[in-house]
Symmetry: C2
Subunit: 411 residues, 2 copies
């Protein structure tokens, strides 16, 4: 499929709105339809297609956005696998954040006008040409912010800010241990730490990234090294804050590295994603494998353990106003040029599989962006992410395949 991959991925399919006549028409200019990434079922990369779906229209309180760029996050890989709490029904359009231009407004959407440049959180469906989302999740962006930057902004910077300042109370002179320091959240954390005097950041990352991110991290540690020993050698007392996106055995290690009154925050569980399809079994196994914490031990050791999930906060727990206040603070920091999203690469919607493979392989430095207006680049001959013609086999051929550099950096 390597050579016909482009044609294949440009196919239009109605996964949600079945319409056999239109399915064959392939008319991209149809104003009643939009292109979107469709996840047809939980599983491997072969479950993803670009297809047409009906144009969404804004309900009361919603803003309709002509999407320019979408953020791709590790959680999207977990969604693809169904490896999340209470997964939604498929088919669905993935994606939780985007940037673009306001194209329509539902009733009671005061404060927004058609033509506004915005970024937004979306509870799924961000990865399409047009999306509607409640106005509480939409934020205007400054003229100087590109759409790619704006799509790379909300999830990573709000997560980083709330963890550092609202959960852990980062102050002058503190130290932070950060996993996946080269990723989107990692680089946002590093930038926010640099706004506070005298903060030491320990960061783990694959060695090939160290040169690129060395200015943002005080002490870089190889991803495969024994980071507990490395941190203790430099700081025998440990650290004030541990930010863990890995989960599993890292919880115990992180708690062990905390100074008194230190805070461990679990904000992801990327170690649960080990292949294409381990999915629910992997999730259930991880749940039981994670070390449970006895509160009396926290009492004796003066430690704090926290969990942070921005998506749950926004879409299940109704804290949109609190997040909006954080976005306002972050926009000030952006305008003062104290923070700036680091974009790893831009990808066409049709390249979503390759983009996902890159994030799975931890090949990225900064954020991966789906650029809705971009044409797909030809796949390279040695691409290993192809799926069979049948498209239904679920083989475990994601993983550390030593092929991290096969995709070109586009930005």
């Amino acid at each position: 499929m390597a050579n016909d991959g482009v044609d294949k991925s440009e196919e239009t399919e109605h996964m949600i709105e079945k319409d056999a006549a239109r399915e064959r028409s392939n008319v991209l200019g149809d104003t009643k339809e939009i292109r979107a990434v469709i996840l047809s079922g939980f599983g491997g990369l072969n479950k993803l297609r670009v297809a047409k779906k009906a144009m969404p229209e804004p309900q009361e309180g919603e803003v309709k956005i002509r999407v320019k760029a979408c953020g791709l996050n590790f959680i999207d890989l977990m969604v693809r696998q169904g490896n999340i709490e209470n997964p939604p029904k498929t088919p669905l359009v993935p994606g939780f954040e985007c940037s673009g231009i306001v194209e329509g407004l539902g009733d009671n959407t005061k404060g927004f006008e058609i033509g506004d440049r915005v970024m937004a959180f979306v509870n799924y469906s961000a990865w399409g040409e047009v999306v509607c989302t409640p106005m509480e999740f939409v934020y205007k962006i400054p003229d100087e912010m590109s759409f790619a930057e704006a799509a790379a902004f909300p999830m990573n910077f709000v997560t980083a800010y709330m963890m550092l300042f609202e959960v852990a109370n980062l102050r002058e002179g503190m130290s932070v241990l950060l996993h996946s320091a080269g990723g989107g959240v990692g680089q946002a954390v590093a930038q926010l730490c640099s706004t506070i005097p005298d903060v030491t950041v320990f960061g783990t990352a694959s060695s090939f990234k160290h040169e690129a991110i060395k200015d943002s991290i005080t002490h870089l540690i190889d991803r495969n090294a024994d980071y507990v020993q490395d941190v203790k050698r430099i700081s025998p007392d440990g650290v004030d804050i541990v930010l863990d996106c890995l989960c599993g055995e890292n919880t115990g290690k992180g708690l062990g590295l905390l100074k008194p009154l230190g805070t461990y925050i679990l904000y992801g569980s990327s170690n649960m994603v080990t292949g294409e399809t381990k999915s629910f079994f992997s999730f259930a196994k991880s749940w039981w494998q994670v070390e449970k914490v006895n509160p009396i031990k926290l009492y004796e050791e003066n430690k704090v353990i926290a969990g942070f999930s921005l998506l749950n906060l926004l879409f299940k727990q109704g804290r949109g106003a609190q997040v909006k206040a954080v976005i306002d603070k972050l926009m000030l920091l952006y305008k003062e040029k104290k923070i700036k999203p680091l974009v790893d690469s831009l990808w066409a919607l049709e390249e979503v599989k390759e983009a996902m493979q890159r994030i799975h392989d931890r090949g990225n430095i900064g954020k991966l962006i789906l650029d809705v207006e971009k044409s797909p680049t030809p796949l390279m001959a040695n691409d290993s992410t192809e799926t069979s013609e049948a498209g239904e086999e679920e083989e475990d051929h994601e993983g550390d395949n030593g092929n991290k550099e096969r995709m070109p950096f586009i930005q």
Copy 2:
């Protein structure tokens, strides 16, 4: 023993420095000896005596304090039972905080002078006429602060301040659930909450205290009521901060009551103290009975769980400088008349058993103070805390004996 209790408790005994000749001399004015409360072994109230011991002298970096008043805390009951992590050897002089006048200085104690009025943390041995403690745990007090207030200050206000502002990050508009709202920490928490605009405090306390503390707590709940339902009725979303000094099943209840991003802090385990001598067994049982917490659940629910032990922070974890900075902030609040320790009652050293019984029965409103210069008041005829002449039986006759009001309020 009811009628000879006074004589008995005035007996002098050398529990630490055996000196048979001096033991019979009973010369209170002997400058080489001091009176102190001695815990002869772990167990019931009968393990406590007032006796003489050698005058302590300051080592390098230590301050020698002529004690005027000592704070009595719930943790002292747990110490008496040996119901703590790694209990020290007996005999020992209990007590972790006191106030008094600087009477001597070791080398390298710059910043203090003989005659300074101070309060101090002491790692045991506070309950005597003279004590020595490292200067990092000694703080000067304002002229307008009485010794009783100063002895009621450090443990309760530092605990309350660090929990609210350094662990939980209390901000405008938040809500707090507080157990034992009438106790020393409880009243300190209530006062500190009142320094932040629009903070709602839910407090549990025995009904007979409600009238006395109603101005300090927004919503008072009876100690024996189903506080979960009471809080939910008033605030269906729950609260931002839960401060739990009870432990056990209250951990799960407290976590359940947290709003997203809310913080549960365990800072005591008074439910472990159920009688005189349940001691280690009770501690071990509680350890296993406390609900363990899965970090993935914290992640899904956006919750924070913390433990706070000021004694461990000071004496095991070396955070004296951080605590000193908190004391400085608290002293400013005191001078601005925003906070003021609430003293429940003053007791002679010889009345320590009755004072302990009162705190065990949750009879106090505010802090119990041992006043070193106070003469013991006669025991009342119906006192039930007496121990046998043999003094070694370990009966479980502490508890809710419906006799909470038998001891007079002295202040």
